[in-house]
Symmetry: C2
Subunit: 172 residues, 2 copies
């Protein structure tokens, strides 16, 4: 059976941070579900270079059905971080210590899910202060792996991010 990964998305995501991991993981044989606030919703990247359609609504998925979680950046996390269903899902994946990958502004969702305290991670520079205030240790590196948590700074880090997430999924 294919391993299943959930990508949590909304409008104005960072185009490459959806397209690149999606293509990479599908090529490696993973099923990647695109989950937003509603099912079958057309979403656009903030740069206008990417379009996707959600496969599920967050209210219709269960953490036990997934092997890994990925949260792309852009402006989507600003919307997703205040949705209870999203935060409950993140906490359930963290509770099971399944791989959680977040890039750029994606870690904003992790702040609201309260899963970053004591963790070593990275993110887009604009939110470093918020992560430090939430109790995380922020490193300026292309990818940081701390247990089940994989984080990167921006689209330029995607090569390292994708590979580190794959490694965690294969170990998990």
């Amino acid at each position: 059976m294919k391993k299943r990964v959930i990508m949590i998305v909304e409008d104005n995501y960072e185009d490459q941070e959806v397209d690149s991991p999606l293509a990479f993981l599908q090529e490696k044989g993973f099923q990647v579900d695109l989950v937003g606030l509603k099912k079958n919703k057309n979403l656009k990247g903030k740069k206008g270079a990417s379009k996707i359609v959600t496969t599920h609504a967050i209210s219709d998925v269960r953490a036990e059905d997934y092997d890994g979680l990925i949260i792309p950046g852009g402006w989507a996390p600003d919307k997703l971080r205040i949705i209870d269903g999203v935060l409950d899902f993140v906490r359930a994946m963290e509770g099971d210590q399944k791989p959680i990958a977040a890039i750029c502004h994606g870690p904003q969702v992790l702040i609201n899910a309260e899963v970053v305290k004591g963790k070593r991670l990275t993110a887009y520079r604009a939110i470093w202060k918020d992560l430090e205030n939430a109790g995380a240790e922020v490193l300026n590196k292309p990818v940081v792996v701390d247990g089940n948590l994989i984080t990167s700074r921006h689209p330029g880090d995607l090569k390292y991010f994708n590979r580190a997430f794959l490694g965690a999924l294969e170990r998990g």
Copy 2:
């Protein structure tokens, strides 16, 4: 002599949160300088409904020349919050206890300037958690005034925000 207010702006600001206070304060007789990373730069609102041109670069202004500071929301604060010159300016205004007004995502800049600890304030809901983690007490009200600090949640609060800022400028 006209009282001078500085509005700190960058691209993708929340259109109404620039246009409304700008028109309101000018109508009340204030000089409003539009200050960004560069002088004479064309900036656009995130909704495409507003355009402005900066009057000064942040590196060319001094806090002692201003009677009040306003930080609109949108995605501009994500850019401004990591600019040392912006943070130094905010700290200088706070040091002199001059009126500081921030709306929506504007308070993100106040987090990086480290001026929110122990303050009562409000903001766009997505960043409440970041403000609490920075040591602020967040209230769900159209406008919150705590000493020299005036804050609001979103464009729907602008009527209250503009009036409260005017009150602080007239007292100051």
